[in-house]
Symmetry: C2
Subunit: 222 residues, 2 copies
């Protein structure tokens, strides 16, 4: 989050941070399109002129939410290049899920408004977000490719699996709750273990017919 | 899809089906909130009175889209109860991905508008959709539980994995394309193989430290 003003409210956040947090909650619940600057001003308890002092337009609030989420996700990927591919995937998963659990509404706004951002953002803003998303995808794909190249992982379609992995982890904003029955850390262990170890116990079954059919009938790159 | 009128257009769809298909595309691109009945009428080439003849309100169009998608997903889960858990998961995945690829826009509308449906739908309509969603989640969870109970699968948190599986498969509407480089069927093989067999090749590594750490340090239910 960006904090441009020293003025701070009773809960220790700057006015701007508070405004951003309140707007994020409203956008998550009602949608960006369905939330007016008046609603934001009312909810944060400021007059509209003051809101415009911090953000010259509603779209700049949305962009701050987007930029914060995109930058966070890219930062979460930074990793030790000497780690094994499986460790890297586990640590990605853990950091991503812990981050999502810490700000579910930000993740919700990010995904809910995704299809429409080119309506609200400038070309440069859209390009910034798309570049960060490409980095996330490429980073995940590259770790899988690294695992395949070293012989740690089976041969597989790293492109498709990177996209599936992103859907599984980032898509968790739909149901992940900070005080749910399992912590974000525990969920990261479950997801990573399932993906890396597989669900099937029996080594022979796992090797010869993981889908219930002999591998050569089903898997093009088996 | 429901077809209530024998009147059909040049492409063989009934007027009502055509209207639904056009509205689905508009809602997917602009959002439900950002699409007016006038836009639907213009795009389908009917006057507004005719559109209202088929659908008394915009929300009834959205509900038809929702009901179609929810019913399809539940139908895709029907399976042979004597099949192994791994076969069942593979066939779910295949049918779900093939179905999504056949109507990406329907899936997009479903997920994009999800957070707001209680604003547009009646309580009964919301209850119908939530009931179908619960059936999908429970069906996936139950298959995983069946695999654990029979010894086919490792012990794991079937609740969390069912949610992750749904994010991975249904979340694919974001990037799945009917004429992409891999077919929906091939993607189903990749997803199912990764989840069921795991990525790690080496049996000893897989058993003892799937996350790069000894199992007892990381996995609460290892």
């Amino acid at each position: 989050m960006t904090a441009s003003s020293p003025a701070s409210s009773s809960n220790g956040m700057s006015r701007r941070e508070e405004l951003l947090a309140v707007a994020t909650k409203l956008f998550a619940a009602r949608g960006y399109h369905g939330t007016r600057m008046d609603d934001v001003a009312d909810a944060v308890g400021l007059n509209k002129a003051t809101v415009y002092h911090y953000y010259a337009s509603k779209s700049l609030i949305l962009y701050d939410i987007y930029k914060g989420a995109a930058d966070f996700t890219v930062d979460a990927l930074h990793d030790d290049p000497t780690a094994s591919a499986r460790e890297t995937i586990y640590h990605f998963t853990r950091r991503l899920l812990v981050g999502i659990a810490s700000d579910i509404e930000r993740a919700a706004v990010y995904f809910q408004e995704g299809p429409y951002i080119s309506e609200w953002f400038t070309e440069d803003q859209v390009a910034y977000i798309r570049e960060k998303e490409a980095q996330v995808y490429e980073h995940v794909r590259d770790v899988i490719d690294r695992g395949i190249a070293s012989g740690e992982f089976y041969d597989c379609d790293s492109h498709v699996l990177a996209l599936g992995y992103i859907g599984m982890t980032l898509g968790s904003y739909r149901w992940l709750r900070p005080h749910g029955r399992r912590t974000a850390q525990e969920i990261a262990v479950e997801f990573s273990t399932a993906l890396l170890r597989g669900l099937i116990r029996d080594e022979a079954v796992r090797e010869s017919e993981p889908l219930g059919l002999p591998v050569e009938e089903t898997a093009p790159r088996g």
